[in-house]
Amino acid sequence: MIKLPISDEQLQRLQLPARIAGIVGSALMAGSIAVPWSYDPDALDDMSFAMAPSPLQLHFLVLALLGLLAFAVPLLGRKRLGKLARLAAWNAAARTAAGGGAVVALVAIAAIGIEAGGLVNTEPGVWVALAGGILALAGGLLLPPSPEPGLGRMKPPRWVQIVVIVVGLAAVVFAAAYALSLSEGGEFFLFAALAVALVLVLKEWGAFGWLSIAAADNKRVLVAAAFVAAFSFPFTQGGSDANMSIAAQVLVFAATAMGLNIVIGLVGLLDLGYIAFLGAGAFTAAMLSGSAFATINWEPPFWLTALIAAVVAAILGLLIGTPTLRVSGDYLAIVTLAFGEIFRLTMINLDGTDGPNLTHGPNGIPGIPNLNFFGFYFGDPQHLFGIETGRFANYFWLMLLVMAFIILVFTNLNRSRIGRGWVAIREDELAAEAMGVNTFALKLLAFAGGAFLAGLAGAVRAHQYTSVVPEQFVFLESAFLVAAVVLGGMGTVMGVIIGATILKVLPEKLRFFEDYRLLLFGLLMVFMMRFRPEGIIADERRQLEFHADDEELAEEVELELIAWHDHYNPEPKGH
């Protein structure tokens, strides 16, 4: 939060003018969509008409109107607002909406300038939007800070919570489908900026405190709804396979990252060769797949193949973990990295000349047939509810099941005796050992368990990608997995899913900076570690570990824990 060098008294006096500036700025942003933003109809999604806003401009309108609302509501006065004044942080939300609007307008200007070749192609509309955003932001910064929103402590009726959860998840599905349908980088980027701005406004307003209580109270409903939402995602694609391919890849990536999350997030072991376990599963499944290039002439049913693949990966995990888990954590990072290289080189060398022919060397095993799972053939498009879905949708659904299994394992382990042992090891291994935690066995369990899950994901991946090549399992892929865990938030489920989605979808959609992808990726890792090492979604305990000397944060976490405790153990009234 930016602090202006103005005393509180002056802020109080400036409040009305600031509010009016904010309202005028937001109104300008809202009004700007009636005027063309771009001269060139090809830039973004055709913003060249007057009085006929494009979809993206309409999304912008939502943000502007939210800002307008947040600026205007407190004008009603504390008395008339009553409870509402203290429930939500109106000023903070207004400030965020204004700032977000300005940033989105800037992104739009940049995108039009790049796509249409020069800023001459911008029309007044987009500049009005920018000016409005800056004016509103100036007003927002002059508003006094909001008190902590009280929304989180309000308990609405059950059905309201459930309706909000369902509507929210449906909105997420449609936003994701819409984002994937945007083929051009500029449009996608603009939409992403809008979505982030909207989420931030809601967060500042206080909605997330309320949501987290609602989610905790209706955990089963939430989980069920989330899976129904994810399950229905392919139906939004109208039979197109291109986006489903990305979505299925995201799920494989996320499932693997979830396995790695056990190792890194819970136990704090840095595994830099994790992709090798995925590779072991994929190669095993490929060899047993019945492809014309398969090297083992045995084609067991897929459930058995998947099990064998996972067990092979887990055995590799045991082999590599047993010697190295006794020594320090740094060694483990490098040994796993070396192991990843050994795996890749071995797969290249098992080509028939340098070793027995198992993998066809650098060419790998192509032509892996589609899955045939209990009579369900994955190559066929499905017709459900009158909507056709393509081949990748089948893999998407299968990976969804695998993902559900992995999340189930993860969350249950996290809350069990084993999970507490893991966290103890992560925080202080010596102390954990002194308390009687069998550190070696627990570390080995995490390591082999993570490998097992990766092997499982690898078995599906082999069929989904239809070919397995050693070069799919280079070190950089391991680094990407680590990055997904770190970016999203070590030790969290939602965080890692978000991190994996960002890392997989962004490069697909932002082809124009493909060259700079790795460069930005390296910078991102450094900046994340420097400024937000706990990731986008922070595990609270983890956050405290990273900010050990932050007293305020410790207090905040403690207060929150007390609030949760009170929420679940209400004091009996009338004493």
Partner: protein
């Protein structure tokens, strides 16, 4: 016998390269307990820095032995060292120092980020400087008259001059390193800091400066290794740091990480093992990297403190 000696010499010069890089890992680890994952890239930048000097002084090719060895080679080495040390100090300042009190995972992940960033930065932008070659593919390293392409035969064993240069560089650097560590103020401060940073600070040692010195020394030796690599293989490429760095780290662990002389011994042993295993073990050179990494795992099982004993072993 000749074949064995030949392989031994090859292994020694390869090992000398590893040893020069490994020192950088070990001095930094001995003081801040950080695996500087980006050190392989520092080695690569040393080679590219030397190449840049060669371009700046007008791409001389046909110089006589005298000026070539007395002017060109030292200039290239100095250029490489300047580039490496600058980049190493910058990464220390920007990416590692802010994380010095963070949990152990944070600086290591940051180091991976630095490694990827440096490799990509060189790959993408080296060629955009006017007159510089594109680093996306490999390009030939300049020939230094007097070293490149010359060889002598001693009793059936062929000695490339570039091989001799690498081994010689290792010997000179070892002596220099010994002098620096034992006879200079900064070197002794380094030893003190690695033994006990808090006490060293109480004794008036500027620990920040000592850490910078450790990064600088490691980078300088890596830059010399970069030039030696260029002369030996006659080609350099933007991603040459990854594998070399990994091997050098293996060498550092092999000798006992944190122990400077251990890194030198570990490097030489690793080079010889790699060279001999390629020559004598089944499968040939396709498997040599596998043997090298297998050796790392074996050492960790049976002698985790390394050949010469590590200063710090059990730090989680």
């Amino acid at each position: 016998m000749d074949f064995f000696l030949q392989q031994l010499i090859n292994g020694l010069s390869l090992g000398a390269l590893y040893a020069l890089i490994a020192v950088g890992y070990t001095v930094v680890y001995g003081i801040v307990q950080l695996i500087n994952f980006a050190h392989g890239e520092i080695f690569m930048i040393g080679a590219f820095g030397a190449y840049a000097v060669w371009i700046v002084i007008g791409k001389p090719t046909g110089w006589d032995v005298g000026p070539s060895l007395l002017v060109l080679l030292p200039l290239m080495i100095i250029g490489g060292i300047a580039a490496s040390v600058t980049v190493a100090l910058l990464t220390e300042r920007l990416a590692y120092r802010p994380l010095r009190n963070a949990p152990r995972l944070a600086p290591l992940i940051s180091a991976i980020g630095v490694s990827v960033f440096l490799q990509e930065a060189v790959r993408l932008f080296y060629g955009t400087i006017p007159g510089f070659p594109d680093a996306k593919a490999g390009f030939p390293f300049p020939t230094v008259t007097g070293i490149s392409g010359r060889m002598v035969e001693v009793g059936g064993v062929i000695l490339q001059f570039s091989t001799l240069f690498t081994i010689g560089a290792l010997i000179v650097c070892t002596v220099g390193l010994w002098y620096f560590v034992n006879r200079t103020k900064v070197g002794r401060a380094m030893i003190a800091t690695s033994q006990d940073p808090d006490t060293a600070r109480l004794m008036g040692i500027n620990v920040d400066r000592v850490i910078m010195a450790a990064f600088a020394v490691g980078a300088a030796l890596a830059a010399i290794a970069g030039v030696a690599h260029g002369l030996r293989y006659q080609t350099i490429i933007g991603d040459m740091g990854f594998m070399a760095g990994l091997k050098a780290f293996t060498a550092a662990v092999l000798g006992g990480i944190g122990n400077i002389y251990g890194a030198l011994v570990g490097g030489v042993v690793l080079g010889v093992v790699e060279s001999l295993s390629a020559a004598y073990l089944g499968g040939g050179s396709a498997w040599k990297d596998v043997w090298a990494f297998g050796l790392l795992i074996l050492v960790l099982v049976f002698r985790p403190q390394g050949l010469l004993g590590a200063k710090v072993v059990d730090r989680a």
